[in-house]
Amino acid sequence: MSVEADAWLLDITEHTDGRSVDLWTKDRHTGRVSRRSEPFRPPFYVLGSRSDLEDLERQLSSHPEVDSVASSHQRPSLFEERRRRMLAVVPARNPFRRRLARTIDAIGEFHRFTLYDVDLTPPQLYHLTHDLYPFAPVRAASDPLVAVEPPEVLEYDAPPMRIAPLEIRFDGPPRRQRIPSTEARIRSIRIGETILEGPEPDLLRALAAEIARVDPDVIRTDGGDSFDLPWIYRRAEATGLSASEIALGRIPVPFRPERGDRSYMTYGRVVHQAASFNLPGRFHIDRENSFLFEDTDLDGLMDAARLSRLSLQTIVRQSPGTCFTAMEIAQALQLGVRVPWKKNRPERFRSGAHLVLADRGGAILQPPVGVHDRVEEFDFVSLFPQIMITKNLSAETLDCRCCPESPRIAPGLGYRSCTRRWGLIPRTLRPLVHRRLAYKAAMRLRGIPANERAQLARRVKMLKWILVTAFGYQGYRNARFGRIECHEAINAYAREVMADLSRAGEEIGYRTLHGIVDSLWVQPRREGAEPDPEAFAERMSERFELPLGYEGRYRWIVFLPATTHGFGVPNRYYGRYVSGAFKLRGIGGRRHDTTALVRRFETEALQMLGEAPDAPGVRARVPRALARADRFAARLREGAWPLEELLITHRIGTPLEAHRSFRDETSALRQLAALGLARAPGESVRYVLLDRSSRSWRDRARVAETMTGEERYDVDAYLEILARGVETLLAPFGIDRAALRARWGIPAERERSPYASGSDPDQQLLASQGGSPTF
C-alpha cells in the first residue's frame, strides 16, 4: 500500500521531441520535483472495408508523418461485442496525430473510414495504458512507474502543493481601473511573498530567478491568461530576452499561448475563455479563467484529476463535462472499446407527436404565490445519476436487441433498458455516486477537524458538478457516448417518481406546495397532527430505491410570481429554515448582474423579514421593509449614492457590431472600443448610467475604466432599478413596480432626446445630412 510509495506522480506532459512524454514526480520527503522522459507514441485506429484498409495501408507506408501501420483487432463500439480488424497508425511525431487523422479521413472521402482514439492526448493515454493517474503515489525508482494504489481509494494523501501568486503592476492606479498603453512598462511583479522592482530586463530576469528559487508547483493568478502572462512575454520579447531566460515553468517554453481564446454558448449563456498559457512541470491556475476552481479549489480538482486521468492543468480550464467524458473514455477502454473520434450516430426518425411526448423536462408543480409557514423540504440525492444507475440507462442498453421483454420501461415512452449487460454510463456513474455519498457521510462524522471537513466539502462539490453534467451530456449532440433517448428516459422516470412522491405525501397528511424535478415542498394539512418528516424520507427512499433527503423545515418561505402572468415561478423563492439559515433562489442577490444598490436593499429587507417566526410575522414586517425602500429612494434622489454601488455588470451576449438597437451596454462597449479595447461575448462590461434617455454613446453611460468619480448618475433610471429589486421581493404582498413608480414619482416612459450629441462630430455630420442611424 501507500507506505511503500516515496513520491507522487504530479503530471504527465508531452515532450518537445514529439516522441515521448515527461513524467513529473514529487519526492515525498524532500518535496523536490523531477522529470523523466519515456518514449511514447500511441497509435490511433482506422476502421473500413478490407479493400479500403489495404489501399490505405499502402498509401500510409510511405507517408512522411507515419511511423508505422499495423493490423489490429479492436472492438469498435459499445453496440458491438465482436472485435474487428482495424489499422493501428503510429504517427512519426505525436503532434502529427490530428493532422494525420484528418488526412486519412479525407482519403476516405469523409465516409469510408471511421477513426478512433484520435483526440485522446498522449499524456491521457499514457495514464490509461500504464495504470497511472495524476497524483498517484508511486515509487520513484521503479521502472516503469507504477501506482501503488488504485485511483478510486477514498482516503489518500494528496501531495502538498507549493502555491505562488503572481501579479504584475504598471505605473499609476490599480490595474482594474486602467488599461496599460502599448508603451507601458512593467514596474513591479509580485511572486509568492516577494515583490520585485526595477528596470524591465532585470526585473524579468529576477522573476525567473525567484521562481526557480521558490520552485512552486502552482502559479496562481487572477487574469494571468488574459493579462499577466501575455504582458510578461510581450515585454520579455520587446527587451530582447529569450524563452530560455524567462522560464516560468520547470522547463522553458516559447512565448505563446497553448490555445487561443474563444467564446462559446453553454446552458443558454455566452462565456468567454481567455487564451491559455501552460508552464510545463507546474500548474498555472488563473482564477478568472477557471470555471471550477472557485467552487472546488485544489482538493476538488485533484480528486477529479485522479478519477478522470486528466492533467490538473486540463481540468482547471475545462468544464465538468470534460471530466465526465474522460471518465467514460477510461471506462470504455477498460471494456476494450475504442473511442470514436466523431460521433456518428444520428438521432433516429421520430414523429412530431412522439417528440412532444418525449422531449420534456422534469416535473414542475407550480408554487402558490405568497408566504407560507411550517413548510418541509425534501430533495432526492443525485436523482438523475441514481435513475441512470438503477434503470441501467446508457446509449447501448436502451432498446437493445437482447431484451425485448425487459421489464425496465421508461414510463409513457416505452424505451426498454437491457437486463443482461451493464451500461457504460451506470458503470461510470456508480463509483462517483458512492464516492460522493461516502464523502458526505464522512463530513457528518463527529470530531472531524474543520479543515478536513472543508476539504471533503470541496470534493463533494466537484463530484456534484460532474454528476450534473452526466445527465446533460446525454442530450448534448457532441457528447461521445450520449444519446437523446437516454435523456428523455431519465426525465420520464423522474416525472413518475415526483408524481408518486407528491401523492404519497398527501396520503400521510401533507399538502404539496411546490415541486421541481427532484425537490418537493410540502405543508402539514393540520397543525398538531404533523407527519414525521425523517421517517417519511426514509420510507420513500426504500420505496423508490432512490435516496430522499430531508432538507429541513422553514419558519416561512415566500414563493414569487412571474411578472408576466402572475403565477408562481419554479425555483424563485426566499425563506428561512428553522435552523436559522436562509435559502434564496432566483432573487437579485443570486444574480451576477445585480447592482450593489439592490443587493444592499435585499440584505436589509431580508434581515427585517428574517426576524419573523412565521407567515403572519412576515406580513407584519412588510410595511417596515417598504419604509426602508422609501428611504433608499429618497437618498438616491439626493444624488449622493456612492457610484461604485451603482455599477451595472453586464455579461456580453452579442458583439458590439451586431447590436441592432441602442442599449445601455452599447454605449459602454462603444466607449471601450474608442479606447481600443474590444470585449468578446462572454466577457463583462461595467458601467454607471448617466442619462438613459440620451441617444449618444458618450453620454448615456460611463464605463468603470474611465470613471472619475465626479459623474452624476441618472436618478430616475436607478429608481426604476430599485423599484424592480423591491418588486422582486415584495410582489406577493401587493407591492409592484407600478405602485412604486407612483409612490416615488418616477415618470413611466421618458421622452428621448434627439440622437445627436453635441460633442460628436460624426453624429453632427450625420444629422446635417438627414441620416437616421440606429445609434
Binding site: 446552458y267 443558454g268 412530431g352 407527436a353 417528440l355 412532444v356 411526448l357 418525449a358 422531449d359 420534456r360 416535473a363 414542475i364 408543480l365 407550480q366 409513457g412 446533460g472 442530450g475 448534448y476 416525472r495 408524481a499 402572468h565 403565477f567
Partner: protein, 86 residues
Amino acid sequence: MGRTAPTYRQALEERMKRWEAFGRLLTTPEERAAFETLRTGARRYVAQATNVGSPDLLESILLSVLLDMARRMPPIAPPAVDPDGS
C-alpha cells in the same frame, strides 16, 4: 442544446396571444372579466398539462379551463343511487 418541439408553456402563450383578438371585441366588462378568468384557468395547470404531453394543444387547454371552472363550482352532491344499481 436546443429542443425541437416547443414546450407546452410556449405553445399555450402563443395560443393565448391569438385569443386576445377574440377578447378585444368583447363589449361588456363582465364578459371581459369572464374571458380573463378563462385564460387564467388555462395557465393554472401548465405543469399538469405538460405531464400529459399531448400533441393536441386544445385538449390540454380545455381540460385546464374546465377543471378550473369545476373547482370553483359548489361541490357536487354524491349520486343518490349507487351507480351499480344495487
